[in-house]
């Protein structure tokens, strides 16, 4: 039998029982639709995270902490407080100071090193005040892909009295249009120790309610850029105000930003709380990490964490696929049911086919074709349904995100393999569901089928 004739014969058979064909196909549509939207959600989430990591250049960054401190030292045993801190034998406790910064920046594969410096400050703009952490960020980093600007441009010099403000903070300061803030002056008021009033080692007077031994000073900056709020914020660049290091040096500020610093202050050497290291390529991460560890610092690289993230996504995908599979399985049962029913009704027709010379294979393929057509149509429409459902969910979610001033994210991804896979899977499942009924049809006894009652 010719392929075209077979197709036409099967299509006309399906057309004869339109309603039943429609309902059976609807089962496949729902099943494939569920599977497609689930898979596209899993894929979309993974793509979002991966791309955010990539665009923020998080795969080629390492954060360096002084030995035994800082968040998430990369060796798990160091997190356990009962374990003694292990310092590499023969080295004094390494201090994360400018000398260390210099040494790290000379390592092969290292592009930029800059200290992670934050200080608290009062921001005054547009007649409003907000209390925020200011991040000190070299011009080189501010101008890199790590900072996405919504308006204006990054500061070009490390000594300029210029500042990049985040759009979220601007909204809090009642500025609706980010571009309107460009070029305006903003006041940063920082607090610092008034050394004339305090022995910095004696904190007890503070806690006993004495007058705070601090003074407050105000500095003026010019807003040059407005940065975008990051939807995902796992990284070092998430502060709402960024100023260049040269300008930061002029500001009198507290020498610490966390409790860790206070403890280390008592130990003597303080250094930086962390250094951000940017590498020329993600491939250098392991080598540079090893060298930095040799210097007696601990490191944290998101690239390491990402393997675990991938695994988590794999499990998420599996669970989503399993839910989709249940729907497909039910649809497959629907096909088997329809085909078996149809064979019972069409026994005489099968008898006629055989009487005029159809072989077992011809009969079988007519039924396999019919179920495959159901699968193909179901796969095609199911993909469409999955796409529509995902778009609607995406719209709704992003509507609520926008109300919270969060940027729109595409939660679903539709790579080409999802389309091809959904279609192939729908046809394969329908084919499998059609095999048993088709086999039964081929075995119909023509004499019994044609016996007139």
């Amino acid at each position: 039998m010719r392929f075209r004739d077979q197709l036409e014969l099967s299509l006309s058979n399906l057309w004869k029982v339109k309603l039943r064909t429609l309902l059976t196909t609807a089962g496949v549509v729902v099943g494939i639709g569920a599977l497609v939207s689930m898979m596209s959600f899993g894929t979309g989430m993974q793509k979002n995270v991966t791309e955010t990591f990539k665009s923020l250049e998080l795969f080629n960054s390492i954060t360096v902490f002084p030995e035994g401190s800082g968040p998430g030292g990369s060796d798990p045993d160091r997190i356990d407080p009962h374990q003694p801190r292990r310092v590499p034998a023969g080295t004094a406790k390494a201090v994360l100071d400018d000398r260390a910064l210099d040494a790290i920046s000379k390592l092969r594969g290292v592009e930029t090193v800059y200290p992670d410096v934050n200080f608290p400050a009062l921001v005054r703009f547009n007649g409003r005040e907000e209390f925020r952490l200011v991040q000190v960020l070299p011009a080189k980093i501010a101008g890199s892909r790590m900072i996405k600007l919504r308006a204006g441009k990054p500061y070009l010099s490390d000594d300029a009295d210029e500042i990049i403000v985040n759009d979220y903070l601007l909204r809090r300061l009642d500025v609706k249009d980010p571009a309107s803030a460009i070029g305006k002056r903003i006041e940063i008021a920082s607090v610092s120790f008034d050394l004339g009033r305090l022995n910095p080692m004696d904190f007890s007077s503070i806690f006993q309610g004495g007058k705070l031994p601090v003074s407050k000073e105000t500095y003026e900056f010019r807003i040059v850029g407005v940065s975008e709020n990051m939807g995902f914020g796992p990284g070092s660049v998430w502060n709402e105000l960024m100023i260049p290091p040269g300008a930061a040096r002029k500001i009198k500020k507290l020498p610490f930003t966390s409790i860790w610093d206070i403890f280390r202050l008592q130990e003597g050497a303080i250094g930086y709380s962390a250094l951000n290291v940017r590498l020329s390529s993600p491939g250098e991460v392991d080598a540079v990490k090893a060298r930095i560890k040799e210097m007696g610092f601990s490191t944290f690289a998101l690239a390491d964490q990402f393997a675990q993230v991938r695994q988590a996504f794999f499990f998420l995908d599996m669970i989503l696929a399993a839910v989709g599979m249940i729907a497909i399985f039910v649809a497959a049962l629907g096909i088997v049911n329809t085909m078996v029913m149809s064979i019972l009704e069409r026994t005489r027709e099968i008898g006629i086919m055989k009487a005029v010379g159809a072989g077992d294979g011809d009969v079988r393929s007519v039924f396999v074709f019919e179920s495959s057509i159901i699968g193909f149509a179901g796969g095609l429409l199911g993909y469409g349904l999955g796409w529509i459902v995902s778009r609607v969910i995406n719209r709704v979610v992003n509507y609520f995100l926008a109300r919270q001033s969060l940027p729109a994210i595409d939660y679903f991804a539709f790579p080409w393999w999802l389309f091809a896979g959904a279609l192939a899977f729908a046809v394969a499942v329908s084919l499998a569901a059609g095999i048993y009924p088709a086999h039964r049809a081929a075995l119909v006894d023509p004499v019994k089928a044609l016996r007139h009652d």
Partner: protein, 242 residues
């Protein structure tokens, strides 16, 4: 079951259908019901042979066996020199496709298809291209006198017309042998006579071998060359008329 051949059967390679010691036993539950027991006869090429007998004499069973729709319990059927018992399932399908055409009492047309589509239906399985199918089917409908009815569905046709469509369908693969199982059973006597007359016509004009089962002895005697009477699964008599 198979007895020694009592009467000598005319031998020769030229028979269109040669049946020897044919038996068919149906198993109903635990009881064996013989439908045919030791049937032997031969049909000459280009002849019109009628098989008569009362209901239950085994006529239809015989025709289904010769048509390759069923398989014998014992004995042999040779059609155009080929033993059906030696054919595989696919071989039998090929035989039904091009070796034989069948006509039934209840017409067995596909109700959702037009007369033309019914006639071309067997050609689908022969892999004949659509244009040629159409042409051959239309020409056959013309020959059976239904040229104007090709777009009608079976339900819109009379019994006689439906049987003509079935005859055209039986001929579309150009088989040398046509088997007709009570072709007049569902028709009034005038139409019945027309249909048998058409078969006789085709037998003459196309040198078609026809084996027709019927219980209408008068019609059989009027048109057939030979009449075989079956009784209780055996050949009761064999009569050559012309």
């Amino acid at each position: 079951m198979r007895n020694a051949v009592a009467e000598p059967i005319p031998q020769g390679p030229s028979a269109a259908v040669e049946v020897r010691g044919l038996a068919k036993i149906y198993r109903l539950g635990r009881v064996d019901v013989p439908a045919l027991r030791d049937v032997s006869f031969r049909v000459e090429p280009g002849s019109f042979t009628a098989v008569t007998g009362v209901s239950g004499s085994g006529k239809s069973t015989l025709l289904n066996l010769v048509g390759g729709l069923d398989t014998a319990s014992a004995g042999s059927i040779t059609v155009m020199g080929k033993d059906l018992a030696l054919m595989s399932r696919d071989g039998l399908a090929r035989y039904r496709r091009s070796g034989v055409g069948m006509i039934f009492q209840s017409f067995n047309l596909l109700s959702s298809r037009t007369a033309l589509e019914n006639v071309e239906f067997p050609l689908l399985f022969a892999g004949v291209p659509k244009a040629e199918r159409r042409e051959r089917a239309a020409s056959l409908l013309d020959q059976v006198g239904l040229a104007g009815r090709s777009r009608h569905r079976p339900i819109e046709l009379s019994g006689g017309e439906q049987q003509r469509v079935a005859i055209a369908r039986a001929l579309v693969n150009r088989p040398p042998l046509v088997l007709a199982d009570e072709p007049t059973g569902n028709l009034d006597s005038r139409t019945a006579r027309e249909i048998v007359g058409l078969l006789a016509e085709l037998n003459r004009s196309r040198e078609l071998t026809i084996l027709m089962v019927t219980h209408e002895t008068a019609l059989a005697r009027e048109f057939a060359h030979a009449v075989i009477r079956l009784h209780d699964g055996r050949v009761e008599s064999e009569e050559k008329l012309r």
